[in-house]
């Protein structure tokens, strides 16, 4: 397949693996920021191939996993209202809230509609004028522009029955929170290529300067990841900390100007509660005051609810690279995709789900 097979060529991958092994004089610890990268590293067997050469630990980069449980609870409440259709991306449906998931609510008769694009939610609002359509706007900077477009479209069409439950999160503040923890183990970052495609990577200059850690913008295919890893290892071996772009076919330094402008027009940066992390300063986006009539939290006057996160789930440790999913005492035993204790096991981008899917060991499989 064009633009895909050439980045999955096994021979080229083997050459890069050899080069990485040759370059590394000891085992470096790299963090892949994005859950999509975690899945790709495990799916294509890269993490296993590099065992002993590079330790790959997974970062906070699954927007589904880090969506605040309070937001999920509110979405569930909205979906139970007679007058509401709650529109959501598919992989949010299984994530547990305090006492139910959107899938549970749908089973019980709530109106939950899977959409593939925020514009589909606008179309729903057009089709069902007698109902309030609320789009559960989840995701990093990658999905924020599409949500912004949906707001503009709804506004242009004069739709008064459309609103957003905005839960967009920003990657870089989470990376800062991570490396400011005194016991962090990260020696270099593979930055999330799709986020940089939208937002560019200029802002990482100051990050690299402040924290003296290499940051390499990296894609998602096996060769992208291997090139990103090699670039990190080379910098570490040379005791350098630079910003590099190994995903040039998609990412430009300034990102996508039109998308950035749109994000700036519709949202403002805000503090945001991240599941497992607590509140991350400047860690999210919310609708700016000019667009607040589309804010579902205001429209439906959300009351703060007690959030009951499952205390047994060690998602914070997993999402900060402190704990490998397979080292969690519940992994593959009480915590499995059909009975998840927390979001990282249920989300399609979740680190625990990735390890379960691609790297589960025999004792876990039969436990």
């Amino acid at each position: 397949m064009k633009y895909l097979d050439e980045y999955r060529d096994p021979e080229a991958a083997q050459r890069l693996l050899t080069e990485i092994r040759k370059t590394a004089t000891h085992c470096w610890t790299l963090m892949e920021v994005c859950g999509g990268q975690t899945h790709s590293l495990l799916r294509h067997g890269i993490a296993a191939e590099l065992e002993g050469t590079v330790e790959l630990i997974h970062g906070p980069g699954c927007p589904v996993c880090v969506t605040d449980q309070g937001a999920i609870d509110f979405a569930c409440q909205l979906a139970q209202r007679e007058d509401v259709i709650l529109a959501s991306f598919g992989d949010m449906l299984r994530v547990p809230g305090s006492d139910s998931s959107l899938l549970d609510v749908r089973t019980a008769g709530g109106r939950v509609q899977v959409v593939y694009s925020p514009l589909d939610a606008v179309e729903l609002a057009r089709r069902y004028p007698e109902r309030q359509v609320v789009f559960f706007a989840v995701g990093f900077e990658t999905t924020a522009p599409a949500t912004a477009l949906a707001v503009r479209q709804a506004d242009r069409d004069g739709l008064e029955n459309f609103s957003l439950l905005v839960s967009h999160v920003r990657v870089q503040p989470a990376m800062e929170t991570l490396v400011e923890a005194p016991d962090h183990r990260v020696q270099a970052f593979l930055a999330a290529g799709h986020v940089c495609t939208v937002m560019g990577y200029e802002s990482y200059e100051s990050f690299v300067e402040t924290y003296r850690l290499p940051v390499v913008v990296t894609g998602f295919e096996p060769l992208d990841l291997l090139e990103g890893i090699l670039a990190c290892v080379r910098q570490l071996e040379q005791q350098q900390a630079r910003l590099e772009n190994c995903y040039a076919r998609s990412v430009q330094e300034a990102g996508n100007r039109a998308a950035r402008d749109l994000v700036q027009e519709i949202y403002q940066v805000s503090d945001r509660a991240w599941r497992g992390f607590g509140v991350i300063p400047r860690g999210g986006l919310e609708l700016s005051p000019e667009w607040s009539q589309y804010d579902a939290r205001i429209r439906f006057e959300k009351q703060a609810l007690p959030v009951l996160e499952n205390e047994e789930c060690r998602s914070f440790d997993v999402m900060t690279g402190q704990l490998k999913p397979t080292a969690c005492p519940h992994f593959g035993k009480r915590c499995r995709p059909e009975t998840p204790l927390g979001a990282p096991m249920v989300s399609s981008e979740g680190a625990c789900a990735a390890y379960y899917r691609y790297g589960m060991s025999a004792d876990h499989a039969t436990a």
Partner: protein
Amino acid sequence: MSERERNLSGSWQLNCPVLLLTTSDCVTLAHGEGGRLSRKLIQECILKTLQPVSSLCLNDAAPLPRSERPLAMTTDSYVITPLFFPGGDIGSLAVYGTVNDLAVSGARPLWLTLSLIIEEGLPLAVLERILESVAQTAAETGVQIMAGDTKVVPRGAADGLFINTAGVGELMDPVPVGPDRIQAGDELIVSGPVGQHGIAVMAVREELGVEPVPQSDSGSLFPAVENLRHKLGARVRCLRDATRGGVSAVLHEWAAASDMTLSIEERLIPVTPEVRGISELLGLDPLHIANEGTMLIAVEQGAGAEAVAELQGLPGMSGAQKIGEARERGIAAVTVRRTLGAEQPLADPLGSPLPRIC
């Protein structure tokens, strides 16, 4: 103003409500209540359309001819949105699905029943089109429709039309022994590209707007099964159409039945560019996506190449491939070897696949 509204607005006009309903171009609740309208629907729409492939009579039960061979029986229900999709519709799906369940069990499909659960308001033209498709598919696959039933449920109680079938077939000799007899070294074959039906239905249902539009693989497996039985005889261990849960679900069932590890290679699995593209976009694995005319076959060690060659010579089976083999139970029940050669467990599908966020 509709005809119904015109009739109702003239209070002086004494119209029988039944008369009103007979002029409807949609199925109404009255069509399912056993009276004159029911008979009219059955005789003028259903029986008339199915006549060439039907021995339907209005008795309570249909007599079946005596059979020399042991019989096999199956039943299935068909629920799909939309009713028409690229490469098929609910009518052809119901016939192919039942025929295939018999075929992969080693039976020659002979007779079907056809039970229609119709939602009030379904346009009669749609029902007729689906029945024509049933008739055409039954003729193609050589099955007779022996009995039927029609129910009409209120609007909102069904999704347009549900179809339930039962199928009876004659067991051929030899009947494949079944997945519990899979042995180490047995070879695993898929009869064509995987995931086409599920992706085709999803693409139209969700209006994904992709070009070219993916096509369902919906079709009859019986000619291929008959051919394999004829050419390979008892060397065919078992067969299964890879419907809901896709190839992965079948492999997990077989691995559980045989206590073997079933190991496949990603690079050998046939996937069309359309299916692959949409799956990559939505984060779905083609191995988990439903098929309607693609089967998995396990054959004795050494028989794989011959089975693949036989299949590839049949219409619609040019994509048949050997994709893996059975081994003594190892790290997991089902494994897949991906890009760099590492062998990994293949997940058992958990419910329906959900598209991811990014």
